[in-house]
Symmetry: C2
Subunit: 221 residues, 2 copies
Amino acid sequence: MKAVLILSGGLDSTVLLYDLLSRGYSVHALTFNYGQRHSREIESAVAITLNLVDSGAHVLHRVIDLRNISKYLGDSALLGGQIVPECHYTEAAAKQTVVPNRNMIMLAVAAGYAEANFIPEVYYAAHAGDWAIYPDCRKDFTEQMAEAIKLATSWNPVELKTPFVSLTKDLIVKRGIELKVPFELTWSCYNGGAVPCGKCPTCVERIEAFEKNGAIDPCLK
Amino acid sequence: MKAVLILSGGLDSTVLLYDLLSRGYSVHALTFNYGQRHSREIESAVAITLNLVDSGAHVLHRVIDLRNISKYLGDSALLGGQIVPECHYTEAAAKQTVVPNRNMIMLAVAAGYAEANFIPEVYYAAHAGDWAIYPDCRKDFTEQMAEAIKLATSWNPVELKTPFVSLTKDLIVKRGIELKVPFELTWSCYNGGAVPCGKCPTCVERIEAFEKNGAIDPCLK
C-alpha cells in the first residue's frame, strides 16, 4: 500500500508518518518550501525521513519548491513579513501567521502528485487545535476539499484522508509516544534558531500537549 | 470592481477577459507556466494583455511559474511526454493531454492570490466542451471547488465564478465576435509553430465553433 503524506517537519505530520509506517504503508512524504521565514522546519523533515530511511523504513521524501507562488501570497509572519506573535493561539495571532490558501495549494499539488503516480490516498495531518483557528484546517474545509479532489481525479481516483482532524494535540503526542517518534527531530516553532522560542502560539500549544501527557518536550531539554 | 482571471492565452479565457472588462472590472490576469510543451500559449497571453493595456484597459498581467510542481505531474502530451493526438476530443485523447490536477492547482493559487490582495472574485473559463471530457472542467467539480475556496478563504472571502460552464464553444465564439475579441492573438493548438496544426482536438473543436458562427478562425487565414 502506498500513500502520499504532506510532511511539514512539525509534530503532527511526523506522528502521522510513523502511524502510516506502523500500518504497513510505503509513504511518499512531500515537504513544501513556500518561502518559510526560516528553513528549520524543512531541515527537520529531511532529518526525520533520513533517520527513517537509515532504519529501513519505506519512505520517499521530496521537497517541492513553491516559492514562485508564495511571493504572490502577501506578508504573513510565516513568510517573514510580520513579527511572530508571542501568546496562545488567538484569531488575531492566527491572522498574522496565515499564508493565504497555503493548505489548499499544498493539497492540490499533493493530489496531482498522487494521481500522476497512481497512489490512491493523500494524508493531511490537520488537527483539532488547528481547525479551531485556521479556516483551511477545519473539518468542513477538508471534507469539501476531499470531495473536490475525488471529482478532479476521477480517472485515477485520489482520496484525501485526515485521521487527526478531530484529535487535540495532546492526543497526537500520546500516539507519538506510543510509536516512539523521535520528537527531538521535529520542529514546530514559528521562529528559527537552535532551540524553540517557547513563546509563539505553536510552542505554547506544544508545551501544554506534552505536559498533559506527563512528559517534557525533548526539544526543550 | 476587481477580479482575478485565469488567462491561458486560449480562446475561452480571452473572451472572458473581454467580457469582464466590458462589465467594468479591473482584471488581474494570471497565466500559469506549467512547463507547457511549447510557450506559444503564454506568448499569446502576453500579447493579448499588452494589446489591452496599450488601449487603456485595466489589466494587470502576471505569469506564475509552476514548473517546480509540474515536473512531478507525469508525462502528459501537454508537457511533451507523449505525442499530441490528431482527432476530435475523445476520452482517450483527453487522457493523453491531461496534466493531473492542473486546474485545481491553478484555482488554488488564484484563490490565494485573490485573498492576499483582497479581490473578492476568481473567474475561470471552463466551458461545456471541456467539462464533457476533462474531470476538472466539469460543473460538479467547479461547484465543489467554489465551496472549498469559500471555506478556506473565510477571513477574506473569495468566490469562484465560472460563467461559461454551461456554454458550448460556438456560443463563446459568438460572444467574442460581439466583443470584438482579437482572436488572431489567441492560441489554442496543442502544438507550437507559426500557425495552428488544425488537426489536434482543440483545433478541431475551434474550427467547428467558428463555422457554426458562419465565420473563419483568423488564426487559420
